[in-house]
C-alpha cells in the first residue's frame, strides 16, 4: 500500500524520491490545471516499476494518412484498433481501415483515403464514415461501427477471397431515431449515435451502445434493443430491459471472461456490468469522480470513464476516464494505475510508464501474442501515435520483440 503525499510536498524531485522503491504509492495531488477539484488518489499496480511505455506506431508529424513502417505511418485520429490471433492488427480511423502486418507495416486495407461515404463493395471502392470502430466478427471478418453513417458495416471475404464491405444494419439515408430506437432487420433498423466501439462474441453477434441503448446485431443484420424501456438515467441496478445509461461521447465496452458486457457509463461515472444470461445490469465499478484509485466501490474517474478492454492474459480490465491523465487497471476489486497518473510528468513519452505524460488517453487492445503488450492512445506528445505498455522482462525470449 502507499501513502498520501501532499501536493505541497513540492516539486518533482521530492515526489519522485518518495515514490522510488515503492511497489504501490498513493499520491494525493490537487488536479490543478486539469480542471477538477476532486482529490487525486493514485495507487500504482504492484509491479509499476517494471512497466514501460513506448511508441508503437505513428510519426509525430506525418501530416495525415501515410502507409509505411509503423513509426513512419501517418494518421490523425485515435480511431479503433483490434488484433486477430495471428498478431496482425486492423486500425480504423478517419474513413479507412489500415492493415498492420506482424512486422508493423501499415497498409490501407479498406476505404478511400480522404473520401468519406457509405458505399459498399470491394474494399478498394467502398467508402467509410469518418468515425468508425472495428472488432473481429468471430467469422474471419470484422464489424465496423460506422458512427458517421449510423450503421453497422462488415468486412468479409467475398467470392475468390477478395475482401468487401457490406452494410449489415442501419441506413444512412434515414434520419436518426427520435424517442426510442427502431429495431428490425437490415435497413429497417435505425441508429442514432454509435459510441466508442463495437464488440462481437464468438458467434458473430455484435453489440454496441447507441445513445443510451444497448443494441444487439445478429450476423444476419437483425437489430434488437436490449433495454427498450431504458434511456438516459441513473445507474440503478436492475433488469436489463429497463436499464438506464448516461452516455455522451463515451460508451466504450468489452466482454469480460464471464461473458458479461462491461460498459463505461461515462456520465454516471461508473462501469456497468451487463449480464446477458441473467438479463441484469449492475454497477461494477464506482460511481465516483476524480482520478481516484482504490476499492472498486470507492474509486473514481476524472471526468468520466470512457474505455474498457479486458486483458484475458492477466485476467483484468484496462480502463480509464476520457480525460484521465493515466491508464488504469481493474482487478480483484481494486482500481490501480498502470501508466501516467502524475500531471507533473512532462519530459518524455517513452519512460517508465508511471513517468510518461498521458492525457485524453484510452486503451485500444491487448496483443494476443506474448508478451501481450497493452496498446493505447493519448494526447500530449502521443498525439497521432499508438503507444504500448510492456514489461522488458516479458519480452525476453519472445521472437520479434
Amino acid at each position: 500500500m502507499g501513502r498520501k503525499i501532499s501536493p505541497a510536498a513540492g516539486g518533482r524531485p521530492s515526489l519522485r524520491a518518495v515514490l522510488a522503491g515503492m511497489a504501490a504509492a498513493t499520491v494525493a495531488a490537487a488536479a490543478a490545471g486539469i480542471g477538477g477539484a476532486a482529490e487525486t488518489q493514485i495507487r500504482y499496480v504492484d509491479d509499476i516499476d517494471q512497466w514501460r511505455a513506448e511508441i508503437f506506431a505513428g510519426a509525430a508529424n506525418a501530416g495525415g494518412q501515410l502507409e509505411g513502417p509503423a513509426l513512419e505511418a501517418g494518421f490523425s485520429h485515435a480511431g479503433s484498433l483490434c488484433f486477430v490471433p495471428s498478431g496482425e492488427a486492423y486500425f480504423a480511423t478517419e474513413g479507412v481501415i489500415f492493415h498492420i502486418s506482424k512486422e508493423g507495416t501499415f497498409r490501407f486495407f479498406a476505404g478511400i483515403p480522404g473520401t468519406y461515404g457509405c458505399a459498399d463493395g470491394p474494399v478498394e471502392k467502398a467508402t467509410l464514415g469518418r468515425q468508425i470502430s472495428i472488432c473481429p466478427d468471430g467469422k474471419d471478418g470484422f464489424y465496423i461501427g460506422d458512427r458517421s453513417n449510423r450503421c453497422i458495416r462488415r468486412l468479409r471475404r467475398g467470392d475468390g477471397g477478395k475482401w468487401l464491405v457490406e452494410t449489415v444494419a442501419g441506413d444512412p439515408a434515414k434520419p436518426e431515431w427520435k424517442g426510442k430506437p427502431a429495431d428490425g432487420a437490415g435497413k429497417e433498423a435505425v441508429f442514432k449515435y454509435l459510441h466508442s466501439n463495437v464488440i462481437a462474441d464468438a458467434q458473430g453477434v455484435a453489440y454496441i451502445m447507441d445513445n443510451n441503448f444497448l443494441r444487439r446485431v445478429s450476423p444476419e443484420g437483425r437489430v434488437e434493443t436490449l433495454n427498450p424501456q431504458g434511456g438516459p438515467g441513473k445507474p440503478d441496478d436492475g433488469p436489463l430491459e429497463s436499464a438506464k445509461f448516461n452516455l455522451i461521447m463515451g460508451g466504450g465496452m468489452c466482454f469480460g471472461a464471464d461473458g458479461c458486457i462491461y460498459v463505461a457509463d461515462r456520465w454516471n461515472h461508473c462501469i456497468r456490468k451487463v449480464d446477458l444470461a441473467a438479463k441484469q445490469v449492475t454497477v461494477a465499478v464506482g460511481p465516483g469522480v476524480g482520478f481516484r484509485d482504490g476499492p472498486e466501490k470507492n474509486c473514481g474517474f476524472h471526468d468520466s470513464p470512457g474505455y474498457i478492454v479486458y486483458d484475458p492474459y492477466r485476467k483484468r480490465f484496462n480502463t480509464n476516464g476520457v480525460d484521465d491523465w493515466g491508464l488504469r487497471v481493474w482487478q480483484n476489486g481494486e482500481m490501480r494505475t498502470i501508466a501516467g497518473g502524475n500531471t507533473r510528468n512532462e519530459r518524455c513519452m517513452e519512460e517508465p510508464a508511471k513517468d510518461s505524460r498521458l492525457g485524453w488517453c484510452g486503451v485500444y487492445a491487448v496483443h494476443p501474442l506474448p508478451p501481450h503488450e497493452i496498446y493505447f492512445w493519448s494526447g500530449h506528445g502521443w498525439t497521432n501515435r499508438i503507444g504500448r505498455l510492456y514489461r522488458p522482462s516479458d519480452r525476453k525470449g519472445v521472437e520479434g520483440r
Partner: protein, 486 residues
Amino acid sequence: MSGPDAFVIPVRGVGGRAGDRRAGGGGSGPPASVRPLSAAVSAAGLALLAAAASGTLIGRRPARAGEAELAAGAPVALAEGDLLVRPRVAFGAGVYLVAWQEGWPGLNGTADISAARVEAGSFKPLDSAPVKVCGAPESQSRPAVAAGADVFLVVWQDFRNGKDYDVRGAIVDARTGKIRVPDFEIAARQRNQARPAAAWTGRHFVAVWQEARGRDAYGVAGVRVSAEGKVLDSEPILYAEAGHSPAVRVSAGKVLVAWSDGQTASGCMADAETGKPLKSVGAKGKMNTRCPNDISLADDGQGNFMAVSARESFPNPWGWPGPGAVLCSRVNADGSAPEENVNYGYYLSDVCGRRVPNVVDTATWGNTDRWHAGAPGGFKGTADGMWPYGKPAVAWDGRGTWLFAWVKGKILPDRLNLAEYEIWLRGMDAKTLAVTLKDRKLAGGAGNEAKDPAIEAGPAGEFLLAYESAPAGGKMRIEAIGLRAK
C-alpha cells in the same frame, strides 16, 4: 450558347461577402480603382465565355457599370474511372499538363499516375486519351507536376516495394504529350520519402518531399533534377529537420520551399542554382502560425510568393476542434513574411470575425463573429450551413490579384460530417489583401461533389482549374475549367 454548366462570375469592384470587413462599400479596403483585376475587368465590360471543348464563343452579356467579370468555360472531363483523385496542373510551352492518381493505393491495390494536356487559350484537351505516366505494380499516388522549358516533370510517391514510399518521376514532352523520360528514381532510400512537389528554376527542376528522419518524425528534403531526368545531387538537400507536405515555387530566380510544421506553415528561400537553402522566410521561418495544412504556392513573376493553406478541422457538436479555415500568407521577394506574426485570437476568433487580413474563408459560429467552443447548447452550425474543408490552391492573374480556389462542404445534421463538397473561388488584392473577386461557387454540390482543386495561370490572364468530380452513382472524373479575366 452557354449550356447549363457554363456560367459567368460577376465581380463588383467592391465585392466581398457579408461580414467581410475588408470588402464592400464603406469597408476599410481601398477604392475599387486600386484593385487591378477589378479595374481591368471593369474596363473590358463584357464576359467572354469559352466553350472548353470546342473553343467557340458560347455566351456574352453586357456588364453592369462597376462590375468586373471572370469568365468560366464549361467543365471538360479529362478522364473517367472508378477512382481518380488529386489532380495537379502546371503550364508551359503553351499547354497545361494535368496529372492525377488513378486507382486505389492500398494492400493488394493498384494506383497509377496519368496525365493529359489542355491547350492554352482554347482549353481544348489535346490528347485523345490520357497518357499513363507510370503504371508500375503496387501504388503510385499523390502526383505533382512542374513545367520546364518544353517538358513537364511529374513526380509522385511510389510504394512498389510494398514496404515504404519512394519518390519517383517522369519527364513528359510538352509538345507531343508523350513520355520523354520514363519512370526514374528521385529519392529511393530506405524508409519513407513521400508527398513530393516540384518547380522549375529555369535551368533545372527542384523536387522536394517529406522524408522520415530520426526515429519517428519527418523532415523536408529535395534534389535538383535536370530536364533530361537526371538527379543532379548525390545527397538530398535538407530544407527542414521537422516538417511535412512540402511545396516549392520559383519566381524571378528565387526559390521558396514551404512546408507544414505542427501548427505552423513554414518555409525557406533556396538558391536557384545550387538548390541549397539560403535563409528562412520572415524572422523565424514562419509564414503563418495557425493554418498549416495543404500548402499551395503561386508567384507573381517578380519574386513575390503567395502561400495558401488550410486548417482542416471538421465540425463538432461542441466546436472543440475550432473552425475550419483557409488563410493566405505572403512571402515577399526579400524573404519577409507579412503574416508571420498575425495573432488569430482565442480559438481563431479573429479569423471567424475576419478581423485579420489574410482570411480566404472561415467557418463561423452561427451568425456571431467569434468561436464559442464548449459553449452551452453547443455548435448549431454556421450561418450558411457550409464549412471550409480546405484543399486550397492559388494562382496569379498577372494584374495584381491572387486567385484562390478551395473546398467547402455542407455540414450534415450530426454536426460532425460534411458532404456535397463544392469548389469556391475568391480573388484578393496582392498589396492589401482586399477582396477583388467576390466568392463564387465554381463546381460541385448536391449530386455531384467536387474536391481537391488545382489552379495554374496560363498566358494573358487565363487560368486552368482542375479538380476531382464525383457524380452520385456515376464514375469519378478529372475535370478542368478554363477561366479568363476580361
